[in-house]
Symmetry: C2
Subunit: 356 residues, 2 copies
């Protein structure tokens, strides 16, 4: 199989394979493992201070000399409505008590939300070659500044309209995210109603609508959807859920073990954890928030509020009050090293090409 | 390309390609065109009397001597709650007046709902070789009776659980219907919440879970998803939306013309027309019923009530109060003859195999 194409040339990688940035799951070790194997690891630094971001980037650079991407959250910084925020926090305390999870709510006076704009200096100083972003789009000055440094930009589209938008603002590569994908939706234009397009429909329509190289995302935890995505016109794939159970993942054991038991219909789209739509294994927190019909303040306010509750739930090995992001093909995820997961996907596609 | 496989052998067809049964769209001419080209046409007879069903089957047999399938609706016959039904009818009249569509509401005393069980004699007498079904599953005596006549049975699954269920009750072929598909969902087990699995996730998981040949359905209006489905493990495909614009389709001109302008995000899942979930181009009727939060009585009661309104809307060339079923790849549908549509898909796949 000839893996060489416009995408691998642009990214200077051997295989057209991107490990998806998963905040709270992805470690520098995971990123480096994938990049060292010839793919592109992606380090998420959304929500982090410039100092913390630099620390993770530097750490990753000690583990690999290959290219990797750094992923930004390109949302605006919201203003908190204090009464609304307090009302939500009271509900969170009630839910935590119901499920026996003890936690200390966020001190609203201490909350500081970081903008991706505060992270740009670090990206440039650390000579990051590739930047991907989601949760909105980078503003024009940021795009120009990063492009001026020769940095390649990757955006996510959940509809043809979004893909065309990304092309028009000068982004270099588009990730087409099918509804199958785990974790947060990359939707940045109209989300009422939320675009919910299956990858097998989205991908060929995106490929036909733009000239940029397209990465396929959603459901690719197995060589068959990988190969199918290439047939549908993708130049490469982005794989997330397959790495949640990896040795290098921050996921707690109970979450890792649940993945392969997750049936195709066991995940839901939920706004319960962050206010933004995301796909995860259905659990009590989703159901409770759904029932309460809580307000969803602008991202990342709810995410900030649920943060300590999620961490406390994880510490108690309780999967009911924390995020269990997973795509619709989670059942095909396995607990191995990131390098093994990467190689089994690449070799699996090669075997589909040349069955012997 | 070698099209010969277990599915084509079982169905005695040349290409592993099934034209989806679309009640109100599919004609004997469409069915015969696809079967004559070496695929499998499917004639829908759901909701029809035995006499009407026989008439259509006989007509199709005059147009082709090749195998074709007949499609049944395997729902139970519901009892009408008269006050509920009248209340719905009053709302329908209001909607019709708002949009200037004149129609005569159903006379509730004249309503007769036919069971698929009344159609079995005709299928056997007319020596139909293949029967597909949806909107529920055939009961055990019906399965045994049809199997006793050597009739091959095809069921639809929208989840792995449903595919396993169909295998366990002795069905011969499973159509895995991705969330991309136009028209009614084949869901027959739990529909709260409705399974909404993308084909790229559903197909490999279904193929791994059962031993039966699997047909892929949803988004296949182009050679790329056709070929991708085969990579994902399907033995063949079922194609619906691609034929709505065909010369042999009953769709009105305004509907046919709208298809290729339908973007990936322009369709919605709606219960407004029949009470059962179905995907179509969003229009006023969907929005109105959504807003009214109408009750959804057991199928096909609402379908019966909306019937004359839909027909009146079509007669007035008004696309706002009738069904505009379409899948998420509708933009790739073209207005040609059914034979041309069929051949362009087959030849397109052959070209993907051997690009010259």
């Amino acid at each position: 199989m000839n893996w060489n194409n416009a995408l691998t040339q642009l990214l200077k990688i051997k295989y057209p394979f991107v490990q998806a940035p998963m905040l709270g799951i992805t470690t520098p070790e995971m990123v480096a493992a994938v990049s060292n194997e010839g793919g592109l690891g992606s380090l998420p630094i959304g929500l982090l201070s410039a100092e913390k971001a630099r620390e993770l980037i530097v750490k990753t650079k000690t583990l690999t000399d290959k290219p990797f991407a750094v992923n930004l959250f390109a949302h605006d910084i919201p203003t908190m409505d204090v009464p609304q925020t307090q009302a939500i926090q009271e509900q969170l305390v009630k839910i935590s008590e119901k499920y026996g999870v003890t936690y200390t709510p966020v001190d609203l006076n201490q909350v500081r939300h970081f903008s991706y704009k505060e992270q740009l200096d670090v990206l440039i100083e650390e000579q990051v070659p590739i930047v991907s972003f989601t949760f909105g789009v980078l503003d024009k000055p940021s795009i120009e500044r990063l492009h001026g440094q020769g940095i390649i930009l990757i955006g996510t589209a959940t509809s043809v309209r979004e893909a065309v938008y990304l092309e028009n603002i000068g982004i270099d590569i588009v990730t087409a995210q099918g509804i199958e994908a785990g974790g947060h939706r990359g939707t940045f234009l109209f989300d009422e109603p939320l675009p919910q397009v299956g990858l097998i429909s989205l991908l060929p329509q995106v490929v036909d609508a733009i000239r940029l190289p397209v990465l396929a995302a959603g459901g690719i935890t197995d060589p068959r959807p990988f190969k199918a995505s290439m047939i549908l016109g993708a130049q490469g794939v982005q794989v997330g859920t397959a790495f949640i159970g990896s040795d290098e993942s921050l996921a707690i054991a109970a979450y890792k073990e649940q993945l392969s038991k997750t049936q195709d219909t066991d995940t839901v789209l939920t706004r319960a954890f962050s206010g933004r739509w995301a796909r995860g294994i259905r659990n009590s927190f989703h159901d409770e928030v759904q029932q309460l019909a809580l307000d969803y303040p602008a991202y990342p306010i709810l995410n900030t509020l649920t943060g300590p509750l999620r961490i406390a739930s994880q510490k108690q090995r309780n999967t009911q009050l924390t995020t269990l992001w997973a795509g619709q093909s989670a059942s095909m995820a396995r607990q191995k090293s990131s390098a093994e997961i990467f190689r089994s996907l690449i070799e699996g596609v090669e075997k589909l090409e040349n069955p012997t």
